[in-house]
């Protein structure tokens, strides 16, 4: 949650230039903004809970998360097992609250990597687009490469990337990061194309700054708002993809507690009536993704002054 609060803070002066947030009391403004929007507040709460569970989830559950309990096969929800137990006697509640550890870590790390590369490439391709010489080819090349990466259906490409490298958290991170780079690239590029026409860029040029310096110290900070606002929904989307990959056995290997693989474990039981096996991990998954989407919507509105009253 801390990064969600830091985003609009006046410390990152670039955003303040794009969206005139009052320098003094940025946090206060943000708090009031959140207070007026229950959906945003709900989203922040969900994000906060997932972060909290990612930190301590594996330790606070009543039962071990990766070892079977003796004799409690496929128990329906009860006081002993709030979410029931699965086919290999594991307590579903303990595993559901332990899962953000792996799901969120994968999503956060891959989104961070995609953000950094996407923004850098977006600045290069946006700022040097239409220029002459080498820079122009670089710009064109980046965009065509993005086109090609996006020519593959997302899930099939993720599956193939992991498939060729083998399952495991690191390979899932690599695949998701790679897939999300073009997304951040396009958003950043769009913002850069607008910012580079603004008068203060002209002023920076007159002051004798080099083009590279203008691109990364003047344009980039002022083009960050759109990509930053999209970090949160991308995290949600990455959680969804991770769980999908794990569901088909191409993501995080069992028995690591992970929502998608838990749903996969419960899948055969759904046909014979043990609904709790897949229901609870899926609800946790859906609520988390919803939370990150709500935070994204709220931040977009907060960072876009034209939509604020």
């Amino acid at each position: 949650m801390s990064e969600a609060v830091q985003v609009p803070s006046p410390a990152s002066g670039g955003i303040a230039a794009a969206a005139p947030i009052p320098r003094a009391g940025g946090l206060h403004t943000f708090a009031r903004f959140v207070g007026q929007r229950p959906a945003f507040l709900t989203g922040l709460a969900i994000v906060g809970i997932t972060v909290f569970l990612a930190a301590v989830g594996p330790y606070i559950g009543p039962y071990p998360t990766e070892t079977a309990l003796p004799g409690d096969t496929l128990q329906p929800p009860s006081w002993r097992h709030p979410f029931g137990t699965d086919v290999s006697n594991m307590d579903i509640f303990s595993r559901v609250i332990a899962a953000p550890r792996i799901d969120l870590t994968i999503a956060l790390v891959s989104t961070f990597i995609a953000f950094v590369f996407g923004v850098l490439l977006g600045v290069i391709s946006g700022f040097f687009g239409g220029e002459r010489g080498l820079a122009r080819y670089a710009s064109e090349g980046i965009m065509r490469a993005a086109d090609i990466v996006q020519a593959f259906p997302v899930f099939i490409f993720a599956l193939a990337l992991v498939g060729f490298r083998g399952p495991g958290a690191i390979n899932v991170i690599a695949a998701l990061a790679f897939l999300n780079i073009p997304f951040f690239l396009r958003i950043t590029r769009g913002a850069v194309l607008q910012v580079r026409e603004r008068p203060f860029i002209e002023a920076a040029r007159c002051a004798g700054n080099s083009e590279w310096r203008i691109a990364f110290f003047h344009v980039l900070p002022n083009a960050l708002t759109p990509p930053v606002a999209n970090i949160s929904p991308t995290i949600g989307f990455s959680i969804l993809l991770t769980s999908g990959l794990s569901f088909v056995g191409a993501g995080v290997p069992v028995p690591t507690p992970e929502w998608g693989s838990m749903i996969a474990i419960g899948a055969p039981n759904m046909m014979t009536g043990q609904w709790w096996t897949a229901l609870f991990p899926g609800i946790a998954l859906g609520i988390s993704i919803l939370g990150y989407a709500l935070v994204g919507d709220g931040l977009k509105e907060f960072l876009d002054p034209t939509k604020r009253v």
């Binding site: 593959f152 899930f155 193939a160 083998g166 569901f247 897949a278 859906g286």
Partner: protein, 335 residues
């Protein structure tokens, strides 16, 4: 005239794109860990045997030669042999493609048939219980995993209510498959007036299509709504209103001009569904391309995976080509 030139340019661009896509797939395959000959020789092969297989696979050649040979094979439609089915990958794909197309086809048709009217309705009537319900649904459906929704649907409709068949594929075991014409069971059954096969395959299609439509329809809905909202606020509709044209006619003007974005999103939907179908097919044991892709990943069947990935990119490009061409049909101003 410019239309023809545009189409020609798009068609010429296609092979270039395909070449680049094949390059990515080619290098993807080289990401795989370990010695590729291992899959053919097993762990106890002699050095000579490994060398022989390397030569057979062309792995002793420099990488650019390998790529050219790979392209030559792909152009001939030769994607190699699947290790799992011991058939040419192309044969496997040809058997499975109709199943996936049938699934995606129905999902696209129903998403558009339900999503566009709902989007138009919510753009016109901004208040009321339907608008609120549609908003909540759109928010929720975007967050739900499709494979999970499929399992819940199976629990409710198959286990609990007993209304629909379980996840055992495309048709009842007791019903013989209809004569193959298109490979899509419902279509073939209709063409041969085979009602038993038609009802059986339709009932098997119901849950997977329901899942895909429920999860992916909001994409169409939201875009139809925002396109319609834009058009309703545009000058020509305001003018039509000022001129006193009937409501229905204003809406018709607006909808006609909202068509291009709706067509675009239909293309994007088809692209999304091809990915989404992978998971839903797995749940329903559908036996289509998506399930084939998953099985090839799980079984390290690289030739099969390589073929599916390449074909999915070809599918994507064709979809977007059709979308671009559809623009000309609905909007005569693009000339």
């Amino acid at each position: 005239m410019r239309f023809a030139r545009y189409i020609a340019r798009r068609l010429l661009l296609l092979p270039v794109q395909l070449l680049l896509v094949s390059l990515i797939v080619f290098f993807l395959v080289r990401q795989m860990p370990g010695e590729p000959t291992f899959l053919y020789t097993g762990p106890f092969a002699t050095k000579e045997r490994v060398e022989e297989v390397r030569r057979q696979l062309g792995l002793d050649q420099p990488i650019h030669v390998q790529y050219v040979r790979y392209i030559e094979r792909v152009i001939r439609g030769d994607f190699g042999m699947s290790l799992r089915t011991s058939q040419p990958v192309m044969t496997d794909v040809r058997q499975r493609l109709p199943a996936t197309m049938e699934l995606i086809g129905y999902a696209v048709v129903f998403s558009v048939l339900i999503g566009v009217p709902l989007g138009v309705y919510t753009a016109i009537r901004k208040r009321g219980i339907i608008n609120r319900a549609v908003f909540l649904y759109g928010m929720m459906a975007g967050a739900l995993p499709d494979f999970w929704f499929a399992l819940i649907a199976i629990f409710v409709f198959f286990f609990h209510l007993g209304l629909l068949p379980g996840p055992i594929g495309r048709i009842d075991l007791m019903v013989s498959t209809p004569e193959t014409i298109t490979g899509m069971y419902t279509v073939d059954a209709l063409l041969t007036a085979n009602w038993a096969a038609f009802f059986s395959s339709a009932s098997h299609l119901f849950l997977p299509v329901l899942t895909l439509v429920f999860i992916y329809m909001p994409l169409v809905l939201k875009n139809a709504r925002s396109a319609m909202e834009d058009m309703l606020g545009s000058e020509f509709v305001v003018y039509a209103r000022a001129a006193g044209l009937p409501r229905l006619m204003q809406w018709r003007y607006a909808l006609r001009n909202a068509m291009p974005p709706i067509i675009t999103v239909t293309g994007i939907l088809a692209w999304f569904l091809l990915g989404g179908a992978v998971l839903v097919e797995t749940v329903f044991a559908w036996g289509g391309l998506g399930q084939y892709a998953v099985q090839s990943v799980v079984n390290s069947d690289y030739a099969a995976l390589q073929g599916v990935v390449l074909l999915s990119a070809v599918f994507t490009m064709l979809v977007f080509l059709v979308v671009d061409l559809a623009y000309f049909v609905v909007d005569p101003r693009i000339k």
